[in-house]
């Protein structure tokens, strides 16, 4: 699949700069998505902007972002204006620090992105930064404006590219002491070896099979069935099938529930 880059800019280490592009490592594109429908007509419900004073619909071209200066007083900001904000971290990931690769607490990892060179001119410079981090077992620390916030980011070399993690802010991570302070500091020394024995029996290699989604699988199966049913109906009646009647919908739910339960049982059994 060809993926659209989501950000383009520069990666910089001291006097070395190369053009890069970035995309999120996660995506909701494959997720079964529900839409809002109008019960009465079965049509999609869509949002529309209307002028708060005149009550008339607003043309797409007339919509702009407004920064509230006072009550009912807005400074209009275009995308070009926003792009001109005076922070180098809007366009440049300048690595200003390196830390040991296991030193960033997992709890701070917010969202992963894949970072890669965006132009052949930068292939070698990108590779130099990546391979040196690999060789030294370090991650790069920088900052980047993502979604109207400037976040600390961590760069970890991976395969031929770099994974860029945006990090959470200090005030986004709750202090662990509030939760952990009353827990026993040390376990019974005689019990721990037994636990380790159990662990050994259950040790496994990481596999993406561990993160399957039985509910989504059941939904997908049903959508397939539903499509077939609609096709049959179409050929039988020789006209466009309408939205499924309510009685049918109930059966779908029963079937869904059953397939999810069956899948869970199968998982447990295996």
């Amino acid at each position: 699949m060809a993926l659209r880059p989501y950000w383009k800019g520069y990666l910089k280490l001291s006097l070395v700069t190369c053009p890069v592009s970035m995309m999120p490592a996660t995506s909701e594109a494959e997720k079964v998505r529900f839409h809002t429908l109008n019960k009465e007509t079965g049509n999609r419900v869509v949002s529309q902007y209307i002028d708060s004073v005149t009550g008339k619909p607003v043309k797409d071209d007339d919509e702009a972002k407004g920064y509230a200066r006072g009550e009912n007083d807005y400074v209009v900001l275009t995308d070009d204006d926003l792009d001109a904000v005076a922070l180098d971290s809007v366009k440049t990931i300048d690595i200003d620090k390196f830390a040991p690769d296991d030193s960033i607490e997992w709890v701070y990892l917010e969202r992963p992105h894949y970072l890669m060179p965006d132009d052949p001119v930068g292939h070698e410079a990108f590779a130099v930064i990546r391979d040196a981090m690999k060789a030294d077992k370090v991650v790069g620390i920088s900052k980047l404006v993502i979604g109207r916030r400037e976040r600390a980011v961590v760069l970890e070399p991976r395969d031929d590219g770099i994974v860029l993690w945006s990090l959470r802010f200090g005030d986004e991570v709750r202090p662990e002491e509030n939760y952990f302070e009353d827990i026993e500091a040390e376990a019974d020394k005689e019990v721990v070896p037994l636990v380790q024995k159990l662990i050994k029996q259950k040790i496994a290699r990481w596999s993406p099979d561990m993160v399957s989604d039985p509910i989504q699988d059941a939904l997908l199966k049903l959508i397939e069935q539903k499509k077939k049913q609609l096709k049959l109906k179409k050929t039988a009646k020789g006209k466009k099938a309408e939205t499924a009647p309510a009685s049918n919908v109930v059966n779908i739910m029963d079937a869904l529930r059953k397939s999810v339960e069956a899948d869970l049982k199968k998982k447990k059994a295996s």
């Binding site: 699949m1 006097l15 053009p19 995506s27 997720k31 998505r33 839409h35 809002t36 999609r44 419900v45 869509v46 209307i50 002028d51 708060s52 004073v53 702009a64 972002k65 920064y67 001109a84 922070l87 366009k91 690595i95 620090k97 390196f98 830390a99 997992w106 894949y114 292939h123 070698e124 410079a125 590779a127 130099v128 109207r148 400037e150 991976r158 031929d160 994974v163 709750r174 662990e176 939760y179 302070e181 827990i183 376990a187 019990v191 159990l198 662990i199 050994k200 040790i203 561990m210 993160v211 989604d213 039985p214 509910i215 989504q216 959508i223 609609l230 099938a241 779908i252 999810v260 998982k267």
Partner: protein, 317 residues
Amino acid sequence: MTQLNRIGCVLCEEFDMAGQRAQWKGFIKLGEVSCGVALYTAASTSERITFNTINTATGNRVNRVFIDSDTEEPVPKEAQTKGFEIENGQYIIIDPGEVAATIPESNKTLEVESFIPCSDVDDVYFDKPYYLTPDRMGTDAFAALRDGMRKSKVAAIARTVLFRRMRTVLIRPHGKGLIATTLNYDYEVRSSKKAFEDMPKIKIQGEMLDLAKHIIATKKGEFDPAAFDDRYEAALAELVKAKIEGKALPKRKKVEVSKPNDLLAALRESAGLGKTKEDKPKRTAANANKGAGRQRSARGAASKTASSKAAPQRKAG
């Protein structure tokens, strides 16, 4: 949608001693051992700057209304329902109550299915972290599981119905407690192999690698994410001020990309080794006014030209 589910599904209203509200209460089970546990949100998302949408034709704010895509009539909340698209423009209506009914009965148990070596953990799957704590009765079993995992250097993989989905969580020791991170589903994570497959295979060795390692050595340190500050809001306020006063908007420096031919020179200069070609600086001269740490790394770089095989193995994407 997930956000709504999460908010709508706070099952537990009880507060513990610390005055925090548990997101979930249930059990963790390993073989025949189980103990009562609770999950607490470890991280929240703080506000970012929001803008109002303005109608530039009138300067007024706009309101959002929901209309029927065909009739263009407003659709009141009561008439809205959920459905999924099966073909272009064809939808199956499902009542939200019925969607809820598809979620399997929860046994409220985080059943440990396997343990994976910590080095095997693929962090790209990480979704949200939760603090996992024992109830009063379960603290012995909890501590035993925690210490066993720490000694064996493993993380646990457990599954349960959480926030109305069947979720996999990765559990690992953290201080006196455990942290459970929900993992993204297989279909939500893009393969890094695929993302990077079009890149040319370049392996950097020799002087370039040594110089880059030398630069890294000068920038090595500790990093505390908690101490990081967001400068965006202040920069935006500056921008708005300039715009109101009709001044020229602030300009960023133009970025200059290193040319492939200049890369070695740029690395040399960055490493503080000067850019003159014929007059190769001697190590001692370059280090005369620098700290000892720097001297050490320079020597290391020079003597270990062929030692790049130490690159850590990364797991498959």
